[in-house]
Amino acid sequence: MTSDPRVFLTLDLGAATTAAALIGRLQGQWRLLGSLAMPATSDPEPMLDLLLARLREASPQIVEELAIPARASAIGRLVARTAPRGLLAVLAPTNARRDSLAAAADRAGWRVRPASLEHGDLLKLVDAALAPGVDAALIGCADPPLGDERRRLEELNLVADAIAERRPGLPLVLSGAVAASGGQSGTTESNAEAAPARPAPERLFAPAPNAGDPPGAPLTIFLGGLRARPDDGRQGIAQATKSLAAVVDRRVEALEIGLDGGLRAAAWPSAGEPSGAGSLASESAAAALFPPEPDEATVDAVLAWSTLPLDRTRLRDRLRELRFRPWADAQGDGALLRLAAARVAVSRLIDATPAISALPPADLVVATGGVWSSGPAPAIALALADIRRRSGAAQLAIDHARLLGPLGTLDDDGERRQLIDDLLDEVLLPVGSVVVAQGLKGGRPIGRIAVRSDGRSQERELVPGGLEIVDVPPGQLASAELEFREPVTVGTRGRKFGIEVSGGLAGLIVDLRDVPLRLPEGSDRRRDQLAEWQRSLWPDLEA
C-alpha cells in the first residue's frame, strides 16, 4: 500500500457492506478524500470509480496535485475482510462442557456447530465435524476431567480418531484432558487399510476450558490465533482501536456490529506497552445484526426496542428478509427496524464480553459497522445511549468511512499510528457526548446544567426519567457544570460535577433515565415512551 506515498484506497469487505475510502497525502498530511458504502453484493470496482469521479468533479486541483489515475484499478489498496467467520465443530462429553467450549470459541470469532455425548451419540459427533463447511473441530473437556467427563473420555478419543481418519486435513483442536491423552484411543481399527495413504492429521493441543482467569480465556486466545488472518477486518478494528487510544491518550471502546457477529474492543494508554496502549478485544456471533434464523428471544428483543406497530409474525418475516438482503428498505420504517436490531446486537455484545465491561468506562466510544452507515447520527447516539448504561461522560463517534478495519491491517504499528493521527478528525464522525447520571429519584426537577462554549451559555433544568439535549456543534469543546440537589453518581458520587465535553451532530445528551434502563411493560406505552425519546433526537423522522 505505501509503495505509493501519495494516494491509496481502503476497502472494508464485510458480509453485508462494502465500504471504500480514498486517502491522499496533502501538504505532508494524510487526508480522507472521499468514502462510499454499498451492499456487499455490489461490484466494488464501479464503486471505486465513482469515488474517483466525485473527487474529480469536486476538486480537480487535488486530483492534479496528487496525480490520481483515472481508474481506481491503478491505485494501491488496503483491504480488510470481515466475512465469513469460520465454522468450528465443538464436541464435548457433556452439555455443560459443550456450552463452555462454545462460549470460548464464540469470543474468538468462530461460528459454532456444537454437539455433546450427553444428548447425542458417537455418530452425531463425528457427523458434526465432517459436515461440509466445517473449518476445524474442537474436542475438549476439563483438566482434570469431572466425573461425567472422565467416563466419556475414551469415546471422545475415538471420535477424534474417527474424524482424523475420515477428514485428515481438518485441524483438530484437543483441549483439556483430551489433549493430555493425545486425543488418540491408540487402538482404533476402522478403515485401517486406508490410513497409510492419507496425510497425517493436524492435531493441535489447546489450553483446557477451565484454565485461566477468567476460565476459558487462554483457550479463547488460542482459538483466536487459529483463525487469524492478516486482512481480518475485526482484528484490524481491534488493532486500530489500540492505536487510536495511544494517539488520543484516552480510553477508547469500539463497538462493531456486523451481519454475522460483532466485536467489542477496549484500549487504554499504557506507557509500558511498546505500542503505547493496552487492549482487550472479544467477538461474538450472538451480536449478529440479523441472525440466520431469528429465534423467539431475538424477535422479543427487537420488538421491545421497536417503535413500529408490528406483530411477532410480521417482525420475524422482516428480520428474515433482512438476512437475505441486509441493505433492503433502509429508509423509513426500515431505518427504525435496523436501529432496533442494532440495539439488540450491541446489548448482546456487551453481555458476551463481561471482561471488557469490568474495565473502567471509556472516554470515547466508536461505533463501526455497516448498520451505522446510513442512519442519522443523533439516532445512532440514542441507540448507543439506550444500551450503554454506565454512569459518567463519554464522547460518541462513528467510524463513518469504515477506516479502522483496513488501517488496522497495517503491520507497522508506527505507520498505523501516524495514519490515525493524521486522519483523526476525518476517521471519526463526532456524534456528540453523553452524560449519564445514576441514582436519580422523583419526577420533579432535581438540578440544573449550565453548558458554556464559544462565549455563550445554555442552562437547563434536569428532570429525572428523560433526556436533555444541549446544542454543542461538531468540533467545539464545552464545559458542562451539573448541579444536583441530592448526591447522584456521574462517574463518581457527588452533587456538583464539572465536565469538559465535545460537540457533535447530536450535541450533548444528558441522560437522566434509569440505569439500567427500565421500559414500560405494556407494548403501546413502551412504544410511546421509545418514540418520545426518539423524537428528541430524530425530529425529522416523519419527513
Binding site: 462510499l36 454499498m38 451492499p39 453484493t41 455490489s42 461490484d43 470496482e45 464501479p46 464503486m47 470509480d49 465513482l50 451419540d121 458417537l122 455418530l123 463425528v126 457427523d127 465432517l130 459436515a131 461440509p132 475414551e154 475415538l158 480418531d161 474417527a162 475420515r166 477428514r167 481438518l170 484411543s185 491408540g186 487402538t187 482404533t188 481399527e189 476402522s190 409474525t313 420475524r316 418475516d317 422482516r318 428474515r320 428478509e321 437475505f324 438482503r325 441493505w327 433492503a328 428498505d329 433502509a330 429508509q331 423509513g332 420504517d333 426500515g334 431505518a335 427504525l336 446510513s374 442512519g375 442519522p376 430524530w538 425529522d540 423522522l541 419527513a543
Partner: protein, 330 residues
C-alpha cells in the same frame, strides 16, 4: 406491466456488456439469470451408503446413495452381537460400535452430470450437465418433474386449484404460497413448487407437516420448494418469469445446496435489455423499469441518506430509488 424481453439474445455472456457498465449501471447489483454447469452438493452422513464414485458420469434418476433413516450407534456386547449386514462404525480393542436404524431411503440424482467427490466430509459433489436459476432458499428435495406455470408472476395458488392432474409436475405459483397449498400439492403428487416469497409462518407450518410425514413408516415421494426472492410478498421478476415460461413443459429439478432450479442446457436465454432494472425491496418492491443514471446521495424516508439511481418506470419521469434496493439481470 409488459415484460422487458425484446427477443432472445444468442446466449448470455454474464457481463451485461459494455452498455451495462455505462452511466453508472455497474453500481447496481447484478443477479445472474442463468448459471452454466453449476456444482451441486448433497450432504452425506457416515450412516449413508454411497453408490457412485468420483469421476463417474451419472444421469437423472440414478441412485446416488442409500440414506439410513434414524441412524443409531450401538456398542456390541452381551445384548447386541454383530450380525451379517451390520455396518461397523468404529472399533477400539475389544469394543465395537455398530450402525443400525430401520429403513433406507434412496437418494436419486435429479440431473445428469459428473460426480466430483463422494465422501462424508465434502458430501456428494456433482458437476451438473445443466443450467440453473438461483433462488435464496430451498426446502426438501432434491426433486424433479415437468415445469408448469400455474399462475401469473404476481399470482397466488389456492389449495382448491390443485388436483391430481398436476401430479409429477413442478409448479410455478407466483408471488407467494401458503403452507396448506404446499401440503395439498405434495398429497396430489406434485413434485415441487417455485415461488417468489414464502413467509416464515408458512415455512414453519410446512416444515412441521414434513416432519410429521417423515415420522411415518412410509417412504415419501420427493418434493421441494424453491423460493426465488425472500420472505415478503412480491411478484416474480419478469426476466425470470420469461425464462420459466420458455422452460414450461420441460423436465426440471430443484436442489437445495445451492438452492437452484436446474434445467437442460439452453442455447439462447431470453435476455432483458442491459438497462432493465428491478426494485427488489423497499416501498416499490416488484416494480421494473429502465435505468436512467446515478442520482447521487439522496434523502429518503426517516431522513436517511442513501446512494440512489434514477429509474424510469413505464413512461413516467425518472424516479430516484436507493441503489441497494435495485438489481439487474445479467
Amino acid at each position: 406491466m409488459t415484460g422487458p424481453i425484446g427477443h432472445p439474445a444468442s446466449g448470455n455472456n454474464g457481463t451485461g456488456g459494455g452498455v451495462a457498465m455505462a452511466n453508472g449501471l455497474g453500481l447496481v447489483t447484478a443477479r445472474p439469470l442463468v448459471q452454466r454447469s453449476p456444482t451441486l452438493r448433497f450432504p452425506l452422513s457416515m450412516a449413508d451408503t454411497v453408490r457412485v464414485a468420483p469421476g463417474q458420469t451419472i444421469s437423472a434418476g440414478i441412485l446416488l446413495a442409500d440414506r439410513l433413516r434414524d441412524p443409531l450407534v450401538e456398542e456390541t456386547g452381551r445384548r447386541r452381537r454383530e450380525e451379517a449386514g451390520d455396518s461397523p462404525l468404529l472399533s477400539a480393542g475389544q469394543r465395537t460400535w455398530l450402525l443400525s436404524g430401520g429403513q433406507r431411503e434412496p437418494l436419486e440424482s435429479p440431473i445428469s452430470g459428473i460426480v466430483r467427490s463422494a465422501d462424508t466430509a465434502t458430501g456428494l459433489v456433482v458437476e451438473a450437465a445443466a443450467d440453473s436459476l438461483a433462488g435464496v432458499l430451498a426446502i426438501g428435495g432434491p426433486s424433479r418433474g415437468r415445469l408448469e406455470i400455474a399462475t401469473g408472476a404476481d399470482g397466488e395458488l389456492r389449495p382448491a386449484a390443485l388436483d391430481v392432474g398436476r401430479s409429477g409436475s413442478i409448479l410455478v405459483v407466483g408471488s407467494r404460497v401458503e403452507a396448506e397449498t404446499l401440503t395439498r400439492a405434495r398429497a396430489m403428487g406434485v413434485r415441487g413448487v417455485v415461488v417468489a416469497a414464502l413467509s416464515g409462518k408458512d415455512l414453519r407450518d410446512f416444515e412441521a407437516s414434513e416432519r410429521r410425514q417423515r415420522a411415518s413408516v412410509h417412504q415419501l415421494a420427493p418434493f421441494a420448494v424453491l423460493v426465488l426472492d425472500g420472505v415478503l410478498r412480491r411478484r416474480i421478476a419478469s426476466p425470470v418469469m420469461e425464462l420459466l415460461a420458455s422452460l414450461e413443459g420441460n423436465e426440471v429439478a430443484i436442489v437445495g445446496d445451492p438452492p437452484q432450479l436446474l434445467f437442460r442446457r439452453v442455447e439462447s436465454v431470453p435476455t432483458p435489455p442491459a438497462d432493465w432494472v428491478r426494485v427488489a425491496s423497499g416501498p416499490m418492491a416488484g416494480r421494473e423499469g429502465r435505468w436512467a443514471g446515478p442520482a447521487g446521495p439522496r434523502r429518503f424516508g426517516a431522513a436517511v441518506h442513501l446512494e440512489a439511481g434514477f429509474v424510469r418506470f413505464d413512461d413516467g419521469p425518472p424516479t430516484p430509488v436507493p441503489l441497494a434496493d435495485l438489481e439487474r439481470f445479467v
